[in-house]
Amino acid sequence: MPRVQREAQVTWEGNVARGSGSISGATGAFTNLPYSLATRIEKPDGKTSPEELLAAAHAACYAMSLAGELAAKGSAPDHVDVRAVVTLDQVEDGSHRIVASELLARARVTGIDQAALQEVAEIASNGCTLSKLIEASAKVTVNAQLEGGS
């Protein structure tokens, strides 16, 4: 398959403590999202952050991977809901690190039980490019639950 490129642009004005920036994706799907240090590490106050964008990327990547793995097992899902929570923490030297991304998937799918779903959910994380990258420096956890009767 051909290589795919995706681009985003950011403008930042001023210093870290009091400055602010704005984030846009080249597709136009999101534009001029404001962000700042205060809203990144304290209350978000309606503003996104690098970690929130990473959470969105990870959840979207993982949802696709899980849908693909379930379909490969002959159990294409009606739907999967995926939540990703990315944690930024201050480490010993005072710098900030992304320390965890926690995935929770709820799947409405027939022909598969809870134990098998959890197994597929873990395989799907191994198949998601972002899980593999994040795992090198942070903790990735995966939990899956069957939704409704099946």
Binding site: M1, R3, V4, Q5, R6, A8, Q9, V10, T11, W12, G14, N15, G19, I23, G25, T27, A29, F30, Y35, R40, I41, D45, K47, T48, S49, P50, E51, E52, L53, L54, A55, A56, A57, A60, C61, A63, M64, L66, A67, G68, A71, A76, P77, D78, V80, D81, R83, A84, V85, V86, L88, Q90, S95, I98, T129, L130, K132, L133, I134, S137
Partner: protein, 144 residues
């Protein structure tokens, strides 16, 4: 103090013919963004993708780190314009991230700006989280 940011995604049906939506995020800054495998791996047609979101996460993280590094050297920037281009090879993963930054930074020369950009690339939390990407590059230039 740890900070959590959450995103929620719904996906319908299988990978190839199904579709998904980034429903909501902690801040509420964006939501209702559609995604699909076709838009991710071929022409985007206005849809975002994990790779575009990574580009946004990395460019925003890098810009903040560079601003901090420059201020430490006594040269807080007036403006930094950054782009990140993420290369995705289906079946393989993210193979490259190219950062480009143009800065208006009073009292700074090109060599020092380049060094600060390299440091921001090494140290920003998203760079560290994505350190497994085979190639992460940064090109920097000052503008008048």
């Amino acid at each position: 103090m740890a900070t959590d940011r959450k995103a929620e995604v719904t996906w319908h049906s299988d990978l190839m013919s199904g579709s998904g939506r980034i429903d909501s995020v902690t801040s509420g800054a964006f939501g209702g963004l559609d995604v699909s495998w076709a838009a991710r791996s071929e022409e985007p047609n206005g849809l975002t993708s994990p790779e575009e979101l990574i580009a946004a996460a990395h460019a925003s993280c890098f810009s903040m780190a560079l601003s901090g590094g420059l201020a430490k050297e006594g040269h807080a920037p007036e403006e930094l314009k950054t782009s990140a281009t993420v290369t995705f090879q289906p079946g393989e993963g993210i193979t490259k991230i190219a950062l480009e930054v143009a800065g208006r930074v009073p009292g700074m020369d090109e060599a020092a700006f380049k060094q600060a950009a390299e440091q921001a690339k090494e140290n920003c939390p998203v760079s560290k989280a994505l350190a497994g990407v085979p190639e992460i590059s940064v090109a920097s230039r000052l503008q008048g």
